[in-house]
Amino acid sequence: MFEIKNITMIYDMEKAEKVYALSGFDLTLPDKGLVGIIGPSGSGKSTLMYCLSTLKKPTDGSILYNGKELTRLRDSERENLRRNEFGFVFQRHFLVPYMSAVDNVTVAAAQSGKAVTEQAQKLLSGFGLGEKEWNKRPAKLSGGQRQRTAIARAMINNPKVLFADEPTAALDHENAFAVMEILKDYAKENLVLVITHDRSILKGADRIIEMWDGDLSAVKECDAV
């Protein structure tokens, strides 16, 4: 699905001492499966995810997504991709505070109508949010429920790629594993990229990519976990 060649990302280009967030490596990602990206802070894992999801443009190199060169897309094409084919779970849930859980999910839908609302309710139910919670605002939901609502939002368009940046960072262990179960389940048919510091939650991942100082230090297939 993704073919990454010599990807380089340099921050502070104008400064004498450049910061290499990604220092030119190659990587191929499959069409489906749970791929974990692990590494210490500043290793470039979030930057890699942002480049793959078109939120950032790499300084150099190429990213092919289903044969399409992402670095050459126009803004509107990148928006379309993010809207229709990618889903996002951010480190902070970024739920809209004044919207109900259902509205927070449907706001990301590419289509509108009753079917979308029903789909959102189905997703929330599947993630353990009962009918009582559907109309609650984020402030009235627990941390786990918020993150599961954010995952439902990311899945509402049934995206081909789901990017999850530290999706369990703010959760206790029990909730963290519950969230990972949802992502693993989704990864059976789609590609799920999970960035984390916590190796334990990647149990059952299909592939683990370790990063260090903007480079790949190891790529391990699922058997390794």
Partner: protein
Amino acid sequence: MPQKLSALRYIRNNKRRTAVLIVSLCLCFVLTMLTQFLLSTTEESFRSLLLGNGKKMQFIDLAGSSYGLDVDNLSYEELVPLYQEKQDTLIDNLNTYEGVKAVYDAQILYECLNPVIGQFYFELPLVEKEEIPIFLEHFGAEIIQGRLPEHPGEIVLDTATMANRGYGIGSYADEQNMGELFKIVGILDCDYYFGCGIPSDEYTCESMITVLSDGIDDMTVLLENEGITYREKYDSIVDYKRTTEILEKEVTDVIAVSTQFIFIGIIILLSIALFIVYTTYLRDRHNEWCLYCSIGYSRKTIYLSILRELLFTFAAAIFIGSIMVAVSEIVLYYIMIQPNGLKCNFLHTGALWEIFCSYALLCGILQIPVRYALYRIRTIDAMDDDLY
């Protein structure tokens, strides 16, 4: 159907915030329209009085020199009969003109009209008992209470003037200045501010040539035909042309200036308040828009949703404001304007246009914080860059 960012979603979930904006705009609308409405009672009452009466009845008071009399070399005793002779001739001649129904040498009693702002004294002719029905017929007036004047010092007045002055049958007209000289003996149903009566035996009022006519706007034309040149400094004429000038200079223009000052004041205050409040609201939604941008909504889509919210707010304010204005105007009319014998104008198209234009301007001003908020939108990766 492709999903759009619904404006109603924000409005539905932020009723209090939206209500603050709607109420501010609505109050501005109501305040402006009601100010205009209340001031219109002054303008419309004066308009009815000055233009309506000016069309139906004219008054002429000429100096002796305007008749061609050598006032400097004539004694008072010599002048009076000569003046009277000239005036009688003029009255006879004016009677022959088309459109002139009748001309009298009448004493004039002044009565005052008090709208919300200002006051205006208008002429009530005092004539012979037999001549009163001619005046009533000319003005389309009918006696609805009391009786017609029969004795010296008795007068009748229309319902509006009666209400405005707080008179009843048996009251004395302008009692404060004239004392108990002119007693009101009847009330007229009349479309004009009008009244007439019989001169008092005890006091002689100033006399003027009183012309009952239809369609003669400028009495100076008739006087020119009679060889008399009107001189503003020495002569006095009350006709449609001059009452129109009075209305424009002393009423309409003055009210227009006051209204403009009030309106501009309201709009400036509203603009400042809305700008501050709206900027705060926009700032609170920064993260929301960053999220939208990150998940694939374009800035244009976000901008259009903000614009729809803003337009909904303005439209709701105008709709609610219109209802409030309509109800307030009706209530004010029945509790304040009609009981005081005043006229008013319910629909102020000029003010409406001014409000629409100023709201459009306000909408334009609010684009400044909106554009700035859009400029500040970043995708979540950029927000993370700021955090770390």
